[in-house]
Structures are given as C-alpha cells and as structure tokens.
C-alpha cells in the first residue's frame, strides 16, 4: 500500500471537503429551524404582552421541534466525528456493510438532490476486511460517482456485497454507459487499497474487488 501519492492525497482531500460541505449544510438546516422556533417564541411573547394568552399546545409543538432538530444535529456531528477518526489507523478491521452504509449516509443528500437512491443488498453475515477505512470510503464514493454518471437516470442503484476467495466484491448495478474498459480515473486510489475495478457492459454491473488483508509496504 502506498497512501502517500499526490493523487490519493488530492482525491482524499476533495472527498473530505465534499463530506464536510454536506455535513455543514445539514447542521445549518437544523440551526435554521431552531432559529425560526426561537423567533416564533419571541413572536408569541410579544403577542402575549399585547394580551393574547400563550397557548400551551403551541409552545409544546415548538419545544418538540427544537428537541427533534437538536437530536438531528447531534447525529450529524457524530457522523462528522466518525469521518474524522477514519484516518486514525493506516490499516484497521473494517466491517464492509457497516462502512458502506455509513458512506451512503454521509453522501445521502448529494444522491437525493440528483433524485437517486442507493441501496445495499441483503447480506448473510458480517464481512470484515483489513484495510484503510478512509480510503475505502473514498473509493466507494469515487466508484459511485462513476456508476451514477452516464445517459439515462437510474432511480435506484443497488450495491451487493459478496465474498470471494481473496476478499470481498462490491457489485454496483444497474449501470449506464459502460464501455467495458477498466477505468483509469482512480487507479492511484484503487492501487493504494489493492483494489480492482471492472465495469461489465453485458450485465450493466460494476465490480469493485478488495483484498481481505491490505498489504503494507
């Protein structure tokens, strides 16, 4: 593994930046709703001063909305913290399905803005590999970017996780505009993870293969 190439550093930084933008947008949305509820409380206090009695139902609804948004922002901050810690170890035990689900949660807003849904296929049991968690997430994001591009719009993309003799395969389908060639765009990232990526035009699938144990140099 060579995590230090300029290409992987730049790709990683771009991914981290994109995720931070999505996270900050999510936090801003929560803050905006909390802010408007504070404003509404102010409005109601002013109205009460003018003789309109405060309705406990309304204040209860406001409190409920604030609590909901605080919980939502807390979840978002926890995700941000997990992303930040994904760079802690060069190689660590990674639960493939769990990390894939986390990667999709982080990018959900970006997909939904495009009108897309990404689902993970059913899995018999946990699949664990030893790899670099951050680069793995980065590679999933890059592959998704490739898989979701192309002609027509795919409403739902499914990612299936399969074991193979050497590790694990992630199968993305259906794909548009597959040329059947190996993709040159993220070779550095794939190389850093010992990964292989194959798009198949006939089945409209893209297969990402990762080793069970990432060898460090």
């Amino acid at each position: 593994m060579n995590m230090g190439t300029e290409k992987t550093k730049l790709t990683g930084l771009a991914y981290f930046g994109k995720m931070m933008a999505l996270i900050s947008h999510e936090i801003k949305n929560s803050l905006a709703i909390i802010n408007e509820n504070a404003g509404l409380m102010e409005d109601l206090s002013l109205m009460a001063k003018k003789g309109n009695p405060l309705d406990p139902e309304r204040t209860g609804t406001i409190a409920g909305r604030v609590v909901r948004q605080v919980q939502r922002a807390d979840t978002t901050v926890k995700r941000m913290n997990r992303l930040a810690h994904s760079v802690d170890n060069p190689v660590t035990e990674v639960d493939v399905a769990e990390t894939l689900a986390f990667t999709l949660e982080l990018g959900e807003k970006a997909f939904s803005t495009l009108g897309l849904r990404v689902e993970v296929g059913p899995l018999a049991g946990p699949v664990v590999i030893n790899t670099n968690e951050f680069l793995f997430m980065n590679l999933i994001w890059e592959v998704l970017g490739y898989a979701l591009q192309g002609g027509g719009r795919v409403e739902t993309m499914t990612i299936a996780i399969r074991r193979n003799d050497n590790g694990v395969e992630l199968v993305f389908s259906p794909l548009h505009a597959v040329d059947g060639e190996r993709t040159p765009w993220d070779r550095a990232l794939a190389e850093a993870l010992g990964a292989d990526i194959w798009p198949f035009a006939d089945t409209r699938e893209l297969v990402l293969k990762l080793p069970e144990i990432l060898k460090t140099v």
């Binding site: 801003k28 709703i33 408007e36 509404l40 909305r65 909901r68 803005t113 009108g115």
Partner: protein, 142 residues
C-alpha cells in the same frame, strides 16, 4: 391585504415554523414540500413572492426557478440557502431570482424583501395591462 406567498422547502419542520411566523405577520402562506409540488401550484395560482430552498431532492432551487420562470416570467422568486456563495448568487440572478438569502434568514429582512417583491410584481402587472390597453386601442379605429 397581506402578501400571497408560496414557501418551498423539503424540511417539514421549516415549512411549519416559517409559515406560522409569516401568518403572524398577516401573510397568506401556501407551502410546498418539493419543487414539483411548487410548480403545480405556480401553474394554478398567483403569488406575490415565492421563497425557495436552494438544495432540495430531485429538483434543486435553481432548476425550480428556471421552470417557474418558464411558466410565468413575472414571478418574484427569493432563494434561501444554507451557504450563500458568490457563484450561486450570480447564477441565481442570471436565472431571474429577485434575491438570495442565507439561512437562518432574519425575518424582518425577509419581510422587507417580500414587500419589495409584491411592489415589483404590481408594477409588472400594471405595465402588462398598459401594453394590453395600448394594443387594443391601436387595433380599433376609434
């Protein structure tokens, strides 16, 4: 009479609280949870101002703005965004947005913009009426 507003956002909590605050200020507020729903409303109703969130699923605020302007070029659209950038602002203005405000928006500032939007819309309606009358007068041999 209060301003007739269409408020578009994919966050139900935001729609609820904003519409309540706007109604407290005497505005007549209709809400839409998606750009698609907003476009249907715009086809069938008249609004003094439309307030649209920039980042929404399926169709974002800029795309919605483009489609709204196709339906009625006089529509006064104010965009709301979590992060206002110069680039987005320029893009929005080029597409005919009246303004771009950052969330959380100050209610007094937003109310001011809404009043301006209504005034601007009235000028446009009057101008169209004038043009229509001129056309009719010109076509008759009175």
């Amino acid at each position: 009479m209060g301003e007739k507003i269409l408020l578009v956002d994919d966050e139900q909590d935001f729609l609820d609280v904003m519409s309540e605050r706007m109604r407290n200020r005497g505005m007549d507020v209709t809400t839409a949870i998606s750009a698609k729903e907003a476009l249907e409303r715009v086809k069938n109703e008249n609004f003094d101002a439309i307030i649209v969130d920039l980042l929404m699923p399926e169709m974002d605020g800029l795309e919605a703005l483009k489609n709204m302007k196709k339906i009625n070029s006089d529509l006064q659209v104010i965009l709301l965004t979590g992060h206002a950038t110069v680039e987005k602002g320029i893009q929005a203005m080029k597409l005919g947005a009246m303004d771009l405000l950052e969330k959380p928006a100050d209610m007094n500032n937003l109310t001011e913009k809404i009043k301006k939007a209504k005034a601007h819309k009235m000028i446009l309606v009057e101008r169209h009426m004038e043009e229509k009358i001129k056309k009719i007068m010109g076509s008759k041999g009175w």
